[in-house]
Amino acid sequence: MRKVWDLIGGVHPPENKHQSVQSCIGTLPLPEKLIIPLNQHIGAPPKLLVAEGDSVLKGQVLAEPNGMVSAGIHAPTSGIISEISAHSIPHPSGMAARCITLVPDGHDRWADIKGVENYREHSPEELLDVIRQAGIVGLGGGGFPTAVKLGTQQSISTLIINSSECEPYITADDMLIREHAKDIVEGIKILSFILGEPEEILIGIEDNKPEAYEALEPYLQDTNIELVEFTTRYPSGGEKQLIQILTGKEVPNGGLPADIGIVCQNIGTTYAVQRAIQQGEPLISRVTTVTGNACETNKNYLVLIGTPISHLLEHSGFDQSKCPRLIMGGPMMGFTLEDLNIPVIKTTNCILAPTGEELPTPPPAQPCIRCGMCAEACPASLLPQQLFWHAQSHNYEHLEAHNLFDCIECGACSYVCPSNIPLVQYYRAAKGEIRKLSLEKINSDRARERFEFQKTRKEKEEAGKAVKREARKKAAEQARAKKANNPSGNTETSPADDIIKAAMARAEAQKASPQEQRAKLERGIVRAESHLESVQKRLNTLEQDATEKQREQALAALEDAQLRLKDAQQKLADLTLPSDTNVSNTEKTVMEKSQASPREALEKKIATLKERIVITLKKIAEADDESLKTALQNGLEKQQTKLKDTEQQLAETPAQTNESTTTPETENAAAAAIARAQAKAADQASMSDEDKLKATVESLQNRLIKAQEKLASAESEGSEHIDAFRSGVEKLQAKLTAAEAQLAQETQ
């Protein structure tokens, strides 16, 4: 006999297992519909492969594993996918999640499936892939994908098969062993092969299942598989607890059994692996215990995954009036179900329908009397009483220091507590809070990083701009200095500076010697006239046999020459006009431009463009030559598109109001938004609800007016975004009406 260690702590609640082992595993007629949740395991949800309306065969893949830790799901019977939508799932939250609804066609036709003939001729990797594709997960309750657990990189010396089934009422594994011992042993051999034949293979079983023990024994002759029986005590079926009982080893804090060379598998999983490898059958059904005094028949069923609980209960003579709460799982670790339409999933080992007397509601909790019974019962050697105090005061640091996360939530402490304190619920809640906080921490760290990054980026941009500005200023200074030394010298400066300087130079020159200037301009006119003449001549000679391109060039040259002449004449006229200011036109424009806000500049640009268009139109009307006309028309089109662009730009440049003139648009948008938000928050704080509503209405009104203005201007300009603006206005209107209605209600 092998030495077995004692379970640390533990309790022995009434077993209540006899009720459901009286008859063999039963089957049920097909339900009206099967509801198959996409995510029935720990890890990433699988990738959907079917759509609503598809007809599927039994065993067909509905969703394939997506990523490393994931498991696929398969059609439990043949039929039609009627719906893929949110449906409540077996989860303590009672929440809904994505489910596939399958309406069976009644034929139960299998898809083409084929097992692996001799698994020993395949590599462990190939077998692991078969297990993965078959959607097998830990059936003991964890739901962790089996292929991942078996694919461990550590060298494994011990394989432990868990058939302890320590929780009261549940007999699914017991019955499975009694009826399928041979297949189970076959499955254990496959697991052993995949793990590279570990030295030890142990099946752990409690001594309250003698029938299962006897059923297994004959198949273990001539194998190295050892069947180990130990005293019944809850929770011997916990993974770490079972390892401790069978080997005396402890799994390190925060570690995995694989770290000490052990892999643990539930016996139901073993059976599923055998089916998948040798028959090619994916995981589409499982054995589930239906028990409790509110059901007439207590027995185990081979249930298709996705069968609604109501279907199971219907065939068990369930009396709802006798059952104050329906439990999925056992009385120690299970959770209450609110909805009878919840389906059975891969990890559902028991549906417990107890009567009120059978499992009474715990009486109200009383103060802790510090008896220490909880610490004695705890199989994880924790101090439940201390954890309870810290959980109550939300002292997460101390909770973690007391190894809260080693708690397996077995409920042994709550079970023994004479004050009826629901201890395990405190631990569950505290764990959830700590997990949530650490997640928030990760998110906030990332947000901080991104915020700091943006800040440095903006600073860099700003610094770059400052450097450029500095350089420009320096250059201007240099130029000025140079000019002071050498007034006639040409300097290299930015274009705007150039123009201003040139204009100033011209003005000076004008002032200095108008005579000279005049003569110069007259000479210019003569030159321009002769140039024009020559161009005209060239055009005339081309007339007969020129290509289109040449003609165009010539025409352009003509135009250019004409302009130049006009320019020169204009200048002369300007000069002859008595001018009391020595600032030239160019200078004026440049100065105006540099002073004008972006919006004014744009408006000015539009005005000049419009003028130019008018002139061009006139020219077209006057032109008698056909080719000249086309050239002019081309120009006109270009001017028009430019005008449109500029108008567009104008529409996007916000009208400057008094407050925002000081805000350079791009850089301080964020700051401005923050300021606005602050002002809003500050205002709201000092207001009553009604005032707040009023303020909302007011701000909405303002926004509406703004939006309407924008719309009007967009309409007048024929902007392409009219629709967007219009819907914006409509939305605002709707919001405003709603707010006003609320306000009206409030004031009543």
Binding site: I89, Q366, V424, A430, A670, A671, I674, A677, A685
Partner: protein
């Protein structure tokens, strides 16, 4: 050697002790410099506790500036996104009494929201991008913009600048994965929810025949 020690025991002891103190002094001094522990400056520690929503509701342009302000003596109850949890954590760190949230800066809300741009209505003005403190908006001029949900802190700053009002703050959808157990009801609440036959005489006045509250493990 021994003779000298035997002859002048007092001086020998003095010399030995002085020598020892010099040696240990040198070793300790060296260790103090070599293995100096860099303390986490208080601003860093406070900043770590703030939610990093970067919304500016506290009156400072971001969480870090507020952390600096706290380090310089500002009150610790100005951050609505962090709410009471953050206030408690900072109070714990600074070892002061935890005040309740200053309503002047906004109210705490337990629904986390993220921005959502109705993409077919976006005109590509880039205004929201400029307002987002964590670069959570993706887009370019005149092109459709969108929010990277995983990066959005729900600070609300992008909603106002949008000229066509196409940004909504939507609550984050919760699935079973985000769910957590609640703390059990207190004894008083439990007694309130009990049936009359379940309670003892002294509890009678609290009885209101409510629904039985199912505990989990017995």
């Amino acid at each position: 050697m021994y003779d000298i020690i035997a002859q002048y025991p007092l001086s020998a002891a003095l010399v030995a002790l002085t020598g020892l103190s010099v040696v240990f002094g040198a070793v300790l001094g060296y260790a103090a410099i070599k293995f100096k522990v860099e303390g986490d400056p208080i601003v860093e520690q406070i900043d770590k506790l703030l939610p990093q929503t970067q919304c500016g509701q506290c009156g400072y342009p971001g969480c870090r500036p507020y952390a600096e302000a706290i380090a310089n003596g500002d009150t610790i109850n100005k951050c609505p996104p962090g709410g009471q949890t953050t206030i408690n954590a900072i109070a714990d760190l600074l070892d002061v009494e935890a005040p309740s949230l200053d309503e002047e800066h906004g109210e705490e809300s337990d629904v986390k929201t993220v921005a959502y741009i109705r993409e077919d209505e976006c005109i590509g003005c880039t205004k929201c991008i400029q307002a987002c403190p964590v670069d959570a908006i993706l887009g370019a001029a005149k092109l459709m913009h969108t929010v990277i949900v995983s990066e959005c802190t729900g600070c609300d700053l992008c909603v106002e600048p949008c000229p066509v009002d196409c940004i909504d703050m939507l609550p984050v959808a919760k699935g079973p994965g985000d769910w957590k157990w609640d703390m059990p009801a207190t004894t008083e609440e439990q007694i309130k929810n009990l049936h009359s036959h379940d309670i003892i005489a002294t509890d009678q006045n609290n009885n209101d025949n409510g629904k039985q509250d199912g505990g989990n493990a017995s």
